[in-house]
């Protein structure tokens, strides 16, 4: 469960997130749709504690976490997959995964073997440098790395970025199934509303300075294709 109440986030003096509130129920898949530069990435960074909000409240599974360092927020089971992937260049594929390993004894905990079962290509290239992989493989590695932390919440930033349409569809399908199967709460950021429709059931439409212009369900978008365009003027 994620709940943001009236948060304000800055880069230096630039006030990027202004009084943003949103919530994602446990087990749900929700997206944030919006144009370039409205603050979608910064919203995820605010939740993760990477750019901590200066005011407002951030709740993860009911715990107030504003001001917590990122590693403690990750420790609550929050995983972050940035749009740039941020694969560690000096680490092999396997080391990239191992780094994030939460090493839990609980049944169903993610292990290297289980990630390789899901993404066989990562197993085949386990000894390659992480950034030697293709864009699609790096996206899978970034998702696999997120899974190694046994997340209950996944923050996924523009999975479609830099991937071919076929790959995008594949990644979207894998992530959706994963989240459903393992009860992972998904907060997705996208510019491509088709991907968002495929992956999430509810969508926040974000305008400039992170102002929420509307909140729609996938069904509503499918019924009225112009809805997003009208609201966001994309």
């Amino acid at each position: 469960m994620i709940r943001l109440e009236n948060i304000d986030t800055y880069y230096g003096t630039s006030h990027v997130i202004q009084g943003l509130s949103l919530h994602v129920e446990a087990g749900a898949a929700v997206s944030i749709l919006g144009r370039n530069g409205v603050g979608k990435t910064t919203t995820l960074r605010s939740i993760m504690g990477l750019t901590p909000p200066k005011a407002g409240k951030v709740f993860i599974n009911g715990l107030p976490v504003r001001g917590w360092p990122p590693h403690r927020i990750a420790g609550l089971g929050v995983a972050y997959v940035p749009a740039e992937r941020h694969i560690f260049p000096d680490l092999t594929v396997e080391e990239n995964l191992k780094l994030a390993e939460a090493r839990s004894d609980q049944p169903g905990a993610w292990t290297l073997e289980r990630v390789y079962e899901y993404f066989p290509v990562l197993g085949e290239r386990r000894r390659s440098g992480g950034t030697k992989l293709s864009g699609g493989e790096q996206q899978m590695l970034a998702i696999g790395r997120a899974l190694m932390g046994n997340p209950s919440i996944m923050l996924l930033d523009e999975p479609s970025q830099g991937l071919s349409p076929i790959l995008v569809a594949k990644v979207a399908q894998i992530v959706s199934e994963l989240c459903k199967e393992h009860g992972i709460t998904l907060l997705l950021v996208e510019q491509n509303f088709r991907i968002a429709l495929a992956m999430a059931g509810r969508h926040y439409l974000m305008g400039t300075k992170s102002k929420i212009q509307g909140e729609v369900s996938s069904a509503e978008i499918i019924k009225d294709q112009e809805l997003i365009k009208r609201t966001l003027a994309v």
């Binding site: 993760m48 990477l50 360092p69 990122p70 590693h71 990750a74 420790g75 972050y80 940035p82 941020h86 560690f88 260049p89 000096d90 680490l91 080391e95 990239n96 191992k98 780094l99 994030a100 939460a102 790395r145 932390g149």
Partner: protein
């Protein structure tokens, strides 16, 4: 001495000198790579390692025991330096820690003179290390061979630490994307502190290995600091492999120059640096990723 013997002698001396540079240069790079701190007190910590070792031997410890213990004490000093001086400056520009560690160098130099005085000290070596052995046609001092083995052991241990351990993985990751390391659930500050302490331990180890080579004196860290910087610059700032290559190269050039043109030895080293920088402004393996 025949030319073969001379060649063997020069090669072994180059490896010893290059090895000391290597341990220093890699230490500087590890500290810089994870903390963005150019540690100007690195030479002073090297001297501190040698003096701690000297005292340990003077009160009855064996050289090898001192070689293990002295760097740990330097590491503890490094931890205090990190907590008290470096940590509060973390969010500031690099220039702050540059000036702080520059001042720290003089403080440590002063403390060394205060506690150990001005005169040169000699680390008492075990009996067997005071002889020479024949290496092919050359006869070579045993203690230099032992130091060479010590250097190899340190390099091996470091490779295992960085290559095989969780801390090593975390350090390599945090040298490029520290933020992502913390998003993966790791306390990246702790990794950065560990890297600082590791660098200091390496400086202390280098000092303790170099003590018997160059004797122990208060300003022994000054020349080595300059040479280590040359190594870091030639190898490429932040590149560990670059530092290894550069250290061996500088060790070789300096040893060769000392043999043929003694007074010009350091000049030759600077000329080497200038030459490398003309063709490779970021150093041999520098990627400029830390600028």
């Amino acid at each position: 001495m025949g030319w073969i013997a001379t060649t063997v002698d020069i090669i072994l001396n180059s490896l010893v000198l290059g090895g000391i540079f290597l341990i220093m240069g890699v230490g500087l790079n590890i500290i810089y790579g994870l903390n963005r701190v150019m540690n100007l007190a690195h030479g002073a910590l090297y001297a501190l390692g040698a003096y701690f070792g000297y005292t340990l031997v003077a009160v009855g410890a064996n050289y090898f025991l001192a070689l293990l213990l002295a760097p740990i004490v330097v590491g503890a000093v490094g931890l205090i330096i990190e907590r008290v001086l470096i940590s509060p400056m973390r969010k500031r520009h690099m220039i702050y820690t540059l000036i702080l560690t520059y001042g720290l160098m003089f403080v440590i130099d002063g403390l060394i003179k205060l506690f150990w005085g001005q005169e040169t000290r000699f680390i008492q070596l075990p009996e067997f290390m005071q002889h020479t052995v024949s290496v092919g046609p050359a006869s070579y001092p045993v203690f230099r061979l032992v130091i060479l083995i010590g250097i190899a052991a340190v390099v091996t241990a470091l490779m295992l630490l960085l290559g095989r351990t969780r801390l090593g993985i975390n350090m390599r990751a945090a040298s490029s994307i520290p933020e992502m390391v913390s998003a993966c659930g790791i306390n990246v500050r702790r990794v950065q502190i560990s890297a600082f302490v590791l660098g200091c331990i390496l400086a202390g180890t280098a000092g303790m290995l170099a003590g018997p080579l160059f004797t122990v004196f208060a300003l022994m860290g000054h020349d080595i600091l300059i040479s280590s910087f040359v190594v870091v610059v030639i190898g490429g700032l932040g590149s560990l492999r670059g530092a290894v290559l550069a250290a061996l190269l500088v060790g070789f050039v300096q040893t060769l120059a000392e043999f043929f043109v003694t007074e010009m030895a350091m000049v030759m080293v600077y000329m080497l640096m200038a030459l490398v920088l003309v063709f490779k402004p970021l150093g041999i393996l520098g990627e400029g990723k830390f600028e």
